[in-house]
Symmetry: D3
């Protein structure tokens, strides 16, 4: 038996447990309804169609339902598709749990809490440190479970915190090479930059945009949170303005969501580190599914580019 | 004697009082210093050069100094320039006051307070009414004295409040023709949309951008203020989000400063009314200085267009 | 029984008369032909598929055919679709007429003729008045029946005249607040700005673009008509040029179809009023089909935005 | 003595006749007025400054005044400038005429009339031929004297007709290689495409834009003229529409002034030939003033490019 | 019997030989596989679907397989589609050859070799002549068989050489009218400008992009080849740089693939001639399939325009 | 005495040695010539005007001439300007050398040679290692003395090598955090990416663009060099293509000079590291001249932004 969806290819026979990630009803050209299912395990996901579905099927095959599926892997418009032979919801007898099917950050929450705490302790400016600690504490629970995005990069449980930890490590390495950087500001900016996502998004799994997310966006939400926190802590002065600016400008350009371009050195660096970590993660993800000597599928968030994996690359193990 | 700077033409002899609006030192090509002065009265302003200035002159000719000037009006690169013959600071004996030289909104502050209060009383949604009243009260003083912008439109004392009053009247007329509009939202959005300028700008006269203005901008500042006000008043619910959205989106496009496009009908209407009033004001201003059958100077904020005043236009009286 | 298509929701049973708006043949993936029908009544339209259609069906189900239909309302890719159970063309016995199924402007033609005539009488410049009256008379019949556009806004019988009447009312309100506006020019520009559409489009119902429409466009067509009218009436002078300019520039930017940007104040105002009325109408249309607390479908002509209807909005009655 | 302005370099002594092309008054930094003169002969033009000018000088040194000048050629900001030593208006005794100082097309008007007549005779479609002949006759005089543009290319006496003759020859060569082209349409389009410039511009020498030129532009003006001509000649049918389309679309893109892109093959070819002839002329003009192995000055109408003349180019004689 | 695919219309019965141009497998909405076939003869191609295909069918219906097909021509989404009744691969008995089904340039390879050789002999600059001859010789075989592009224009056997021959003729005509052009440079630029396509593309028929094609592109490939050739021939000096520049800049703008804009006159002319020939060919191709009085299908490479064929056009014979 | 130009402010008296960086002649508005000088020492540069200059002065004050200057620091249009009191060229007696006035990389050439050699030794792929070593050796001398750019960043002696060393250190740090990166490719790409500048630019000091630089650019030049090197070393295979692609794509977008976007992970990372190092250097440079609590001058290469130095920043020592 294969280890997970990511390892199946066209023609493989499939017989294993999967979780419903998304489900929508369509009408076939013969007038009969069917379900478009997206099924997942911890290694990836795949499309499948359930033909001639009944009204009951619609009730059953909803997100986070666990299934036993047998079928065959086909290709449809250049993407894999699972041709279902047999399918049934699991019962207690199957002994499977939702948490076995959800992709999670490669670090445990405890480790990430610890790491981030260390960076906060390193901060020397009391205003910056207090604001950061206060806001992280206020939203600690969702911060350590939410994804960093709905799609594109870090769209897994705890993806937000994992992205922040990676960026902090990168910032530390860079600050060693460019010692003029103010690490207090930079670390605080990294920890807070995407924290507004815990209000913008609906939850840690299968996240959608909330009303505030759609009408205001995580950047304005977070600038607002910093203002309220400063009020509550009685902190005044430039640190509040500068930290708000780091959050406000971290997408760098108006058309990418930042009404102000970075005007403080650490704001520019925050933007570059954010971009760097997200791009590396996206590239690694598609390349890990690609053989040496081949091109990846097109990646929307990389301006729709298709990447080439040199044939002289040694195969690396998927993390 | 002419009634004010706006009525002078090339060749006219000038002999009257003026106020220094701006002053900067340059070096002539013969190596001697001179002052570039911008001089104003209530009807407009004009450039002038003070040749061979002494260090004392630099100290004397600073903004808001009142002067007695005689000279002649010339043209330089298509703009009027005052060739100074005699110039001196005024003394008490001249009997002139700064307020005589500053352009002010055509309505008194009392009238504007009254007008705006009426619109607030018309609001029926208590959350919207309380938020608007609270914020207007908090910043009442600067709101009724600040300009609406550093340049381009309504850049005079009380320009901000005057712009808001005009927009409210326009909104009321429109809502009569399109009765589905929610006037509570629309009036509140109009009153609050530019209120952040009292923090973004430095003061009612000769305004500059503050640090918060430069790093955050009046839109983010105001969204923030709404959040803090809602917290203080204990108001929760969609009204806060929608009102924040109206402020956030009132520039309509990311490249014009709004990270979110209008997604509520009244937000779109607010943007159109804001644009409408500002454009009319800018057009009237340049056209009032132009003869029928001629083109105006280029107007930067109207995409650098030069407007034509038809020769069959009856001359209108400058307000 | 429901009052019209606009009031049906997913799951509703349908049993009423409808008119064919559009029809095209496709081939199902089983190789059999079927018809894609768009069916309408005065309140809106809906898609439906007629499976396994015969060659005779193709002949029968053509635009403006009246039908008796029973079926059920489903959802397909986020849009409503009528699943046909029974369908037949109507006979005289059914007692229904085409005019019962065509959306028409909410004002009668007589009322609109009267309103527009009043505005023409208000004009004081004889050249402007004569040109306007001449051109309106020349194209009176199509002007009062054509739609204002093929899609997006005012795409109903007499939509063009209705759009003009609304704009005239708006112009009058605005001119009261901004008295420097030249209402002769503005009213004439409003009446003539889209008159070229009676040549650009093929007819009042199910309009398409004519050859002149495609190769020249309604703006150039109308500028041309003004030139010919001036010749015929023996009118010379700036009024002809300025009025042509108002028509030429009313889309404001080259990429929107105007080779010259507005360079006369009333040209700019004409553009803003045109834009304002069209946007309000489009927004009201989608919002009238949306429940408070929900987002509308995406609106192409509003830069593909989806609008939100606040949950604190009182339901309003569709006009 | 040198043969003309085009042959002078920095350091050369100058002693010859010149004509005033343009004149404007400025104020030196010592407060004294001076005149900025542009002086020309048939080979080119040069800037010069007349220091400490009197009010009489202003009256004398106006466009098309002939002068006797001695001085020295200097360089100022990368452009040549004539340092005036002596300067005086000419009298009859000097025996010079304005026509000796104005650049004119390299073909005589008679030759061009003849050439264009031949192309009109070749047309076989009577509607196209009659329209072309009628319009050319109506504007014959200005057509054969006006420049093709105010600046950039063919900005000399008879430049418009010369540009048309060159394009006709090019069209004929191309039609021989691509025989599917309809030469009736193509020749007519070439002859008429810029004819609107006789209304857009003020005259054959030192041309400016007229009011119609600024508010409507030569493209709309000409489309209008075709409509009126068709009316007068009683010509109806597709030829009128297609010919109007050729004129309307000859700038190819909205942002270049054409509200419709070319949708007829000959319209596309007309655009390409127009572009081709204009670019070659502009390139030859700057290259003729440049030594092999050097770059030309930047050419605004060639997207501000600077062209390189290969050092292996044989020097060619300026036409 | 009709003469070729280009002459069939909706409703025609089809019974003739065709070649498979492309084939891909899809899954019908009933879950059964089918093949999307593109079938061609020398006059054009058509889509067809082979329902319920077996795994053997997939092996058989691959590019360049010859078939005997009977069926009927239908229309699907505005494009013709062949409804297959009977289909079988051919055997030797059918007496058909692949070369009968492949579109080829209208000139023989021998003729094209001769023509191009003549142009090379006309070159007088020895460096330019040697470089051109060397590179043409090195890639002679693919140069005379490859297409000029994968799609859009000249996408047939020997299309590359045919495009070059047409451009050379055009260049010669133009140089007669504009004698300052350096024909050595221009001819060499034309011959070499697309030669990199023999490395960028995979072969003369059904061409794809190679790895070098995707990662470097034909422009960089060719600049590289010129550098290597110069090294091998021991040629130094400006000719190498200028010729490289002509190739590098022939797409004119960065966003079209040229990192440098044309900065030499012949580079600009090369770009315009390339563009001219490609556009004429694309327009003739779609217009040859269109009746007078109709619009063509949209042409992607002409900015998605649809062209109109005037109804007064005489039908021309498809070359 | 101050330590260098970077430490002078408005009003300071100046008395020290400087080197001429650039010199150009202008004409004052009184008709007399003067020289615009840019003077530099190792810490920065400043503008100065030499009034009433003689022809001899023009000969004397040329780039790299050393001067003794006394004067006063003024401000002109927001930039510092040195008002010259006394000025003379130095003689041997002054005991100053050009090398004392030229800014140089903060690392010695020996150190940089050593560092880069270590990175080359770490490479394991022999093709990549040999190509890199060969090209570095071929251009070793200019590589270790040229600047990285004519302006904006690293525009000092050995700036190119210093930029490469910094990027290599950054790459090493990053590869430790993201272990899937292929460091062979990445290091080779870093070392070669800008090597073409040794042909694009004229020399290590006061660099200009060569003809090849202008017509081809350093990217195409270097791709060419890799092709020739591979030929000479007899290296074939994907390594050559991939390495060429890294150089070709390192500006990331066509409009920034890369005809192909990065399509290999290390190409994307190379672009980000290049961008990162250049931006940090530019920001540090302007911030080092700015007091806490102030904005820097606008930086063209940072999209003309002005950066703010927080007032809570501790002053850092300029490196």
């Amino acid at each position: 038996m294969k280890k997970g969806l990511a390892h199946y290819k066209v023609g493989d026979v499939f017989d294993a447990y999967l979780m419903v990630k998304a489900s929508s009803k369509s009408m076939a050209s013969n007038g009969k309804p069917f379900l478009n299912l997206t099924l997942q395990d911890q290694t990836g996901d795949i499309e499948a169609k359930l033909w001639d579905c009944s009204p009951e099927d619609e009730q059953v095959y909803t997100p986070q339902t666990l299934l036993k599926v047998t079928g065959e892997v086909n290709s449809y418009r250049g993407k894999l598709q699972l041709k279902i032979k047999q399918i049934r919801p699991t019962s207690e007898l199957d002994g499977v749990r939702i948490s076995d099917f959800i992709e999670t950050a490669p670090l445990s929450q405890e480790t990430m809490v610890e790491e981030i705490t260390k960076y906060i302790f390193e901060m020397q400016n009391p205003a910056i440190q207090r604001l950061t600690r206060h806001l992280l504490k206020k939203y600690q629970e969702p911060f350590f479970t939410y994804p960093a995005a709905v799609k594109n990069h870090h769209e897994f449980v705890s993806g937000l915190a994992y992205h922040v930890v990676s960026m902090l490590h990168l910032a530390k390495s860079i600050a060693r090479l460019y010692p003029t950087l103010n690490t207090d500001l930079l670390y605080a900016g990294i920890i807070l930059h995407d924290l507004g996502k815990v209000i913008e998004l609906s939850g840690p799994v299968a996240a959608n945009y909330t009303l505030e997310g759609k009408l205001l966006g995580h950047i304005s939400i977070m600038v607002n949170e910093i203002g309220i926190a400063a009020k509550e802590l009685g902190i005044e002065g430039e640190e509040v303005t500068i930290l708000s600016h780091l959050v406000l400008s971290h997408h760098s350009k108006p058309e990418w969501g930042s009404p102000k371009a970075p005007m403080v050195r650490e704001a520019e660096v925050l933007h570059m580190i954010d971009n760097f970590d997200a791009k590396i993660i996206m590239m690694d993800r598609v390349l890990s599914k690609t053989e040496p000597g081949e091109f990846t599928e097109k990646v929307f968030a990389l301006e729709n580019r298709s990447l080439y994996k040199p044939s002289f690359e040694k195969e690396w193990i998927k993390k």
